[in-house]
């Protein structure tokens, strides 16, 4: 079931939550809406679900206009950040809810409901918890039950609002891999909202990066990471170092080093972004190297993060693998040269 979002706008008072959004979700795709809080990603998801009505625009499910269809008839599965399980029902009854509330004519028999619920609980690998109450489950288990409940009504699309947001890091990682495998198994068109770029890049087929109610970029995880369309996308998808400079003859100068800025107009203000792990350290000066001095060294598990002071600029962060750090025998207070392997130059900001 494909989803088409056409010119959707939504305003809350003076706040423009969604500003003319156009987006297509292909059938069977797992799409991530990624952005900082307040960027409109949750509003967009709720508009798709029918929990929020847009001020303008249309939502089409498989070419059919559903903009004015009530959430009850829209056949969407919605998974909430805080699970929203029914506390007074057992796990079994929670999953069975969507089947039991059907009108008599279309309601399956008790035996069919039982069979279906157990099949779904097996799918989320929690069949053994059928008689428990939500209060007796862990967060990860609750979210899997919430997912089973949403799938019970055989939704045309599955919508997940920060599904792993309330879980701790380890469970979150486990669960998102599990969600990816589950999606490969059942292939229901899914949209999930997250503010965690790692989660979006790992799980989604395509990522939509949003900011201030607008879409900044749509693309596969490698597209958005490798060729960010805007400085916002670049800085949102990972750590960055930022330099301000001006372009001269196709070169931008940063603390004595020259960085290629072809296609940029002369004398334009340039902002240069470099990721910490895309900088090499050297003790030998070269034309493209920036001079600096190591001020801090922090060990972060598999990587080492060094802080380097550069004249006239903010301190630069450099990330090295453990081995590279050991090979170089870098020390605090040492003068070094920074060689950016890859730098993005944005002008006209």
């Amino acid at each position: 079931m494909s989803i088409e979002i056409k010119n959707i706008s939504k305003q809350f008072g003076d706040f423009k939550a969604l500003d003319n959004i156009n987006l297509e979700v292909a059938s069977g795709e797992l799409l991530a809406l990624l952005g900082p809080s307040g960027c409109g990603k949750t509003s967009l998801l709720r508009v798709i679900a029918g929990l929020e009505t847009p001020d303008n625009g249309q939502i089409l499910f498989h070419g059919e206009d559903t903009t004015d269809t009530h959430v009850r008839e829209r056949q969407v599965g919605f998974v909430f950040q805080h699970y929203a399980l029914f506390r007074h029902m057992t796990v079994f009854e929670n999953v069975a809810f969507g089947l039991r509330v059907r009108p008599k004519k279309t309601r399956p028999s008790d035996a069919e409901i039982r069979k279906k619920v157990h099949r779904l609980l097996e799918l989320v690998q929690l069949d053994w918890l059928a008689d428990r109450f939500p209060a007796q489950l862990s967060g990860g288990q609750r979210q899997r039950i919430a997912l089973a409940r949403a799938l019970a009504v055989e939704p045309r699309v599955l919508l997940l609002d920060e599904p792993f947001g309330a879980l701790d890091t380890k469970v979150r990682k486990e669960l998102r891999r599990w969600l990816r495998r589950l999606h490969d198994e059942i292939h229901v068109t899914s949209v999930f909202v997250t503010h965690d770029q790692e989660e979006a890049l790992e799980v989604a087929d395509r990522v939509v990066v949003m900011n201030k109610g607008q879409i900044e970029q749509i693309g596969t995880p490698s597209q958005v990471y490798d060729t960010p369309a805007s400085p916002f996308v670049y800085q949102f998808l990972g750590d960055i170092n930022l330099f301000h400079s001006r372009v001269h003859d196709g070169w931008a100068e940063v603390a004595g080093a020259r960085i290629a800025a072809t296609d940029s107009p002369d004398a334009a203000k340039a902002t240069i972004y470099v990721r910490p792990h895309e900088i090499d350290l050297s003790r030998v000066a070269s034309e493209a190297a920036i001079a600096g001095k190591i001020t801090h060294v922090r060990l972060l598990g598999s990587t080492v993060r060094l802080e380097v002071d550069v004249a006239d600029h903010d301190a630069v962060e450099v990330e090295l693998t453990r081995e590279r750090y050991a090979e170089g025998e870098w020390k605090v207070g040492e003068a070094v040269w920074l060689n950016p392997r890859d730098a993005k130059v944005y002008t006209g900001l």
């Binding site: 929990l51 959430v71 009850r72 008839e73 829209r74 599965g77 007074h88 969507g98 509330v101 919430a146």
Partner: protein, 276 residues
């Protein structure tokens, strides 16, 4: 002590000790004095005092009217708290404050006011008179007075729970295809049930003990509209202290049993859902 759990807040012994002492002095001591006093009667005399036909009729009136009043407030209390939580309208705060008024008003004032309005020639009572319905000076009047007195209980117990009810629950139910009515019956009402039960129990308990407002509107006809507290007072007026005590003990036992039952029910449901 085995049941003492380690806690960052000190003072478990002090707090528990104070609680027990306080409850003993304020609640347990007077009540046990009451029970003790009733042992001055022989079993036969006790039974005679509490099973007099006129007294038995008063039990029926008191417990019956209290049950009806608490049930009425269970439903209207839910409605009022729903309106106060879910809707916003001008004068909402005023109405919210109005709910507590029955607590503040002297109960006798409430009784007299109600009796005046609902009397056969009163401003509302005159409309019921031609229909052959006598509101004041009949058991209906008792129910009315008790409903007035116990109005705040259900509202004030349900309101905070309703306020904390996550909108996501209703959204989830809606996305699963439930109608508004199904959402109310299957999702909202069961969640509110513990609070509703508490409010009901409080209202019921309060109604059983109510005296001031009822005597003005009840008419106090023997076998018809005499409440048990009135029987106790009239015994006292005849210097039959032991007889009054015996009736009081019966009320105490019945009320306590009912409250225990309701609390037990709540405890059981909370335990079943794994919250205890």
């Amino acid at each position: 002590m085995a049941f003492k759990k380690h806690s960052v807040l000190p003072g478990f012994n002090l707090a528990l000790g104070y609680t027990l002492l306080y409850l003993s002095i304020i609640v347990l001591l007077p009540l046990s004095a009451l029970v003790l006093k009733s042992t001055g009667l022989t079993a036969e005399a006790f039974w005679h005092a509490v099973s007099e036909p006129r007294v038995v009729a008063s039990y029926k009136v008191t417990f019956g009217a209290s049950l009806i009043a608490a049930t009425i407030n269970l439903i209207t209390g839910l409605l009022i708290s729903w309106v106060l939580v879910r809707y916003s309208f001008p004068g909402k705060r005023f109405i919210d404050a109005l709910v507590d008024l029955p607590f503040a008003l002297p109960t006798a004032v409430a009784g007299i006011a109600l009796a005046t309005i609902y009397a056969p020639n009163g401003s509302i009572g005159q409309w019921f008179e031609p229909l052959g319905i006598k509101v004041a000076f009949s058991p209906i009047g008792i129910v009315l007075a008790l409903t007035f007195i116990t109005l705040p209980f259900v509202v004030r117990t349900v309101q905070p729970v309703l306020q904390d009810l996550e909108p996501e629950l209703e959204e989830a139910a809606s996305s699963l295809g439930a109608t508004r009515l199904q959402i109310f019956w299957k999702v909202i009402l069961p969640t509110l049930l513990p609070a509703l039960l508490t409010g009901f129990a409080l209202a019921f308990a309060r109604a059983i003990g109510e005296y001031g407002s009822v005597i003005f509107i009840a008419g106090n006809m023997p076998y018809v509209s005499e409440i048990t507290p009135l029987m106790i007072i009239s015994k006292l007026e005849q210097y039959d202290y032991l007889g009054a005590t015996a009736i009081a003990v019966v009320m105490l036992v019945v009320s306590f049993t009912l409250l225990l039952l309701i609390n037990g029910l709540q405890w059981w449901s909370a335990k079943r859902m794994g919250r205890r």
